[in-house]
Amino acid sequence: MSEREAIVRVEGLTRRFGDLTAVNSLSFDVARGELFGLVGPDGAGKTTTLRMLAGVLPPSTGDATIRGVAVAHDPERAKPFLAYMAQRFGLYEDLTVRENIDFYADLYLVPPADRPRRIERLYAFSSLGPFEDRLAGALSGGMKQKLALCCALIHEPELLLLDEPTFGVDPISRRDLWLILHGMVASGVTVIVSTSYMDEAERCDRVGLLDGGRLLALDAPANLQQRLAGELIALRTAEPRRARDLLRATPGVHRASLFGETLHVQLDAGADPALARDTIAAQGIDVRSADRIRPSLEDVFLDLVATER
């Protein structure tokens, strides 16, 4: 990690719900100005972790310090500096865009003299200006998320905690949202975002892979991709399913999974790169293409989680 100061320090953060341990002794740091991603399957603990960082759910044990303030002990002191966007739309559908923004501006005691300038800026990058008087409930999914982001940014927080902000949102709004986020990061805001979209995870400075409440890996996406031992081959064949079953039974093949009609074959470290194509061809299945590919984060993830289980 760089010499940038850590704005968030998580130490042994744990949360239990009855018998279930949703988050199990998480420890990591996030540097100021970093774009930090949290990825993982459902029930991995992403939402629970973010809720604890936002101070709306107390941990069972462990703590997180945000800007030096221990969130478990004194959440109210940390809240003025952070903004949290819950997974579920948390604004008031029976209030207009402007009323929602004004409300949050009041909650954070944003000086009235400063508001027009800030709101102008927010409208500029969210394109919500023309919809100022529209009820929030009448907005599309993408615009609702942009509004939620505006309300989160009105008090110019130092830390943004976003729980799956682009879930179900149309591709164009998704891109807009990420442009906004990148702009924030560029101006020094720290962003911790959870996502189930792998391409979004690849944009982060560092990604934490969560599964079953534990951190399986934490590194820059590029480094994570290097981790995948052995070659990754993308195989297009005439009979993908048969090919997959065949390869799974072949020694030297670590994993073979279907992605659409394409087989992603992960070979054991040191295995012959041509192994996959040769095996299939030998069985009389027509091989249309066999290319070495760079593992995506999803491949890495699949590998790590499968190894764990």
Binding site: G90, L91, L95, F103
Partner: protein
């Protein structure tokens, strides 16, 4: 530490939401007045126009005078003329009459001769309340007629005369007693129902989670949410009082400002209670049900509205001390009918103050900015 701006922001948001919710507006403004009008007209403990069947086997001048006395009282109305005593049973059985007056053949003759002249009154006892009242009226009418007969020709005063005067409610209009009580009961119910939803709804919709992540203080939320509902409560009471005066002719003898002040105190307690239920249960469905049980039934049964507190068994009487409506009823009746001031109502004022603090306290203590 608490920010007036944040309290105002919460109050404004709550008000905007209420304004835009047609159903809530109807509930908040329409229901109380509707309930008052409906119950005000429907409940009346005065009994008038009792249906009387008459069997006059005498037919003489005196029997006719007696019957006229019954009819002139306004309490009875002869609806059936009978020809035989056996006619009475089916009429009472079917509920077609409340009572039957049977005058025997020798009535006029006996009276003229100075002999006792009994008449018989048969009553439908199935409705004991009405029967008792009918009986009392009838006895009074007969006693009055007896005296007339007795004094006929003599200029004499009866040895003991009862000079009765009824204070506060000279005409003994039951409505005068009911309406102020009804106002108190209705406000108890409405107040709790209004706020029972507010916090639970935000948890269920997910807006509370978002709110919890801001620096807003618990008390700011509670106070902020309270304000619009207090205003609505005051508007409701004003409308109810106006309805009482204009529609039901209930006199307002006391100080309107005192009523307003004590009403606000009462509202804070009742609204606070509703908010406590909402904060503790976090479920709109559950909160409304509990609010109904905790406010409606006690307000109706144990506040002194329907049943006299002093006539209750000791255990229940003890319970009434924790029913805020009980004190508020004393206030409404006191201000409306007795015209008294704080010097007579200070106990009630103090009790309601305690409830206000208690209700708010419970609400604030139970409302947490935490998901779990």
């Amino acid at each position: 530490m608490l920010s007036a701006r944040r309290v105002r922001a919460i109050a404004r948001k709550e008000w905007i939401q209420l304004r835009r919710d047609r159903r809530s507006m109807l509930l908040a403004f329409g229901l109380p007045v509707l309930m008052l009008l409906f119950f005000g007209y429907a409940i009346s403990w005065d009994v008038r126009d009792l249906r009387l069947a008459l069997l006059d086997e005498d037919g003489g001048r005196r029997s006719r005078e007696l019957v006229e006395a019954f009819e002139a009282s306004g309490y009875f109305r002869v609806t059936e003329q009978l020809t035989a005593p056996s006619d009475v049973d089916p009429l009472l059985d079917h509920g077609r009459i409340n009572a039957a007056l049977l005058i025997p053949p020798g009535f006029t003759r006996d009276l003229a001769a100075g002999r006792p002249a009994p008449v018989q009154l048969l009553l439908d006892g199935a409705d004991a309340n009405t029967a008792t009242i009918a009986l009392n009226y009838a006895e009074a009418i007969v006693a009055g007629y007896s005296r007339r007969v007795l004094l006929r020709g003599a200029i004499m005063e009866p040895p003991v005369a009862l000079d009765a005067r009824v204070w506060y409610n000279p005409t003994l209009e039951s409505r005068n007693m009911i309406v102020p009580g009804l106002i108190a009961v209705i406000m108890s119910i409405i107040a709790a129902m209004l706020t029972a939803l507010t916090i639970a709804r935000e948890w269920e919709r997910g807006t509370m989670e978002q709110l919890a992540s801001t620096p807003v203080h618990r008390l700011e939320v509670v106070f902020g949410k309270l304000i619009p509902y207090i205003l609505i409560g005051i508007a409701d009471v004003t409308m109810a009082v106006a309805a009482g005066i204009l529609v039901f002719d209930v006199p307002l003898r006391g100080n309107l400002l005192l009523l307003a002040a004590l009403t606000v105190l009462f509202l804070i307690g009742a609204l606070g209670l509703g908010m406590f239920i909402s904060a503790a249960l976090r479920s709109q469905v559950l909160a409304t049900q509990v609010a109904m049980v905790v406010t409606y039934l006690p307000a109706l049964l144990l506040s002194g509205f329907l049943f006299d507190i002093d006539s209750m068994p000791a255990a229940l009487r003890a319970v009434t001390y924790v029913i805020p409506a009980r004190y508020y009823i004393d206030v409404t009746r006191g201000v409306f009918l007795k015209g008294v001031g704080l010097e007579a109502l200070w106990v009630q004022a103090l009790s309601m103050l305690l409830f206000a603090v208690g209700g708010l306290g419970l609400a604030a203590a139970n409302f947490r900015k935490r998901i779990a």
